[in-house]
Amino acid sequence: MIVQAILVALITTCCTWWFSHVVTRTWLYPLWSGFLVGLVLGKPVEGMMIAAAINLPYVGFITAGGSMPGNPQFAGPVGTALALVSGLDVNSATTVGVILGSVTIMVWTAYMSINTLWVHMAEDFLNKGNIRAMRMCNYIPSFFVSFILNGIPAMLVVLYGAPFGEWFQTFPQWIVDGFGIVGGLMPALGIAMLLQYLNKPKLMPFFFLGFALAEFMGLTTMMVTFIAALVAILLYNYQSDSTKKLTGGEA
């Protein structure tokens, strides 16, 4: 159990401490990080289903400039571990994921704030001409920050989380319902953040077009993307033609 707990702690640490996006970019998302936890805990099928359920409210998740409307990096592995060791079902896992992901936003904020220290350390080393030490500052201290903030709680959950399942059963129905509603509303925040981020009022009809194709005609995401790509290419070509005309074309 202790080996498994340490492995889960390391997975959770790397979900926030992205040593290289070549490997860890997908660890941000519960679907993958929770699956890894499931493998470590010897329950890959249950782990995968629970991880997918935790990922649901974060389908519209966007991070821009380091601000995040939730902390799926924590909710994914820790939520899956908690559900597996305490025997929660898939539906309860979504609820637990929403709670963990919201409460621990401050963990991410703390991580981003503490890391500022290492930049100053790196700057001192660079001023002294010590390039190797500057590089170490990029990798090592933030690992320990993430390990303390994310890894240790994950380890404790694996070791002592077993009674949580029974405790969760005693939660009044209204609390469970409340978090259920919150979980259903959460994707709206991600989608709205994206609309705000794109900030192209003239292009907003395309948002409604995507909505209409899916809701009224029942098209899948892949089908909508296919149509969207065609529309985008057509408009791009049309626009470039008109620009050419305005500037006199190739002549």
């Binding site: 290289s20 990029n138 995507g210 194709l213």
Partner: protein
Amino acid sequence: MALSKKTLVKNWLLTYSSETCYNYERLQGLGNTNAFVPVIRELYPEDKQAEELKKYLVFYNTEPSWMGTIINGITCAMEEKRAEGADISADDIMLMRSSLMGPMAGIGDTVSQSIAYPILAGICIQLALAGNFAGPIIFDVGYKILQLTCGYNMYMLGYKKGRDAIVDLLQSGIINRVLDAVSIVGLMVVGCMTVGNVKVDLSWLEFDWTNELGTVSLNLQTGVFDALLPGLLPLLVVLGTWALLSKKQVKPLTMVLIIFLVGFALVGIKALMGLY
């Protein structure tokens, strides 16, 4: 002196560690300083290396994995010329980087977070919930193949075109056209995501009136919202949230609190109606 292919590949791969020491003060500044060590080591004698690296330890933030790699490609082309003695100052390089980081973040975040991720997640979550191992595996492998293919090609494009790429991008307005095209795909995918992911269920809001003619019942969900337009309620929630974010400048974290308040207010109404 041209940089060796090995150094370029190293620089490209190290770009993926841009966010290892992600922080609020300089965001990806330290990560990029680390990424340029191989480049500077190849171009400069040892006593000049630290000095040349300092220009990277500044505030820097872009999308580092899919599209933003083009900036580091362009930077390498400029560093090469600078080391040969061309008239390129450290400030020129910094200016190019800071003027491109915003637009490239716009394109990169749209491609990765509003197109690739929702599509992959949408498909793979359903597979995983059905107990199919293809779910998480397609998600991880598919995401990485797309990310590395885009990242490598953008990096090499930036390196080959060098400074011309910036002139092309910024002066011809091409970057805005690309951003528009990518935004169109992003917006349509996001519009499609509203369906099925945002869940608002008010079907418990049912009112019955009994008079001498019999009982009339009105269900707010099926009788009003769904009757007006299918999916109207989730759409209104998204638009309402968007209005709060953009018109009232509500912070995303405050928005999380508001969502919690709304969720538990609805539970409160449910309790008042005696449903518990």
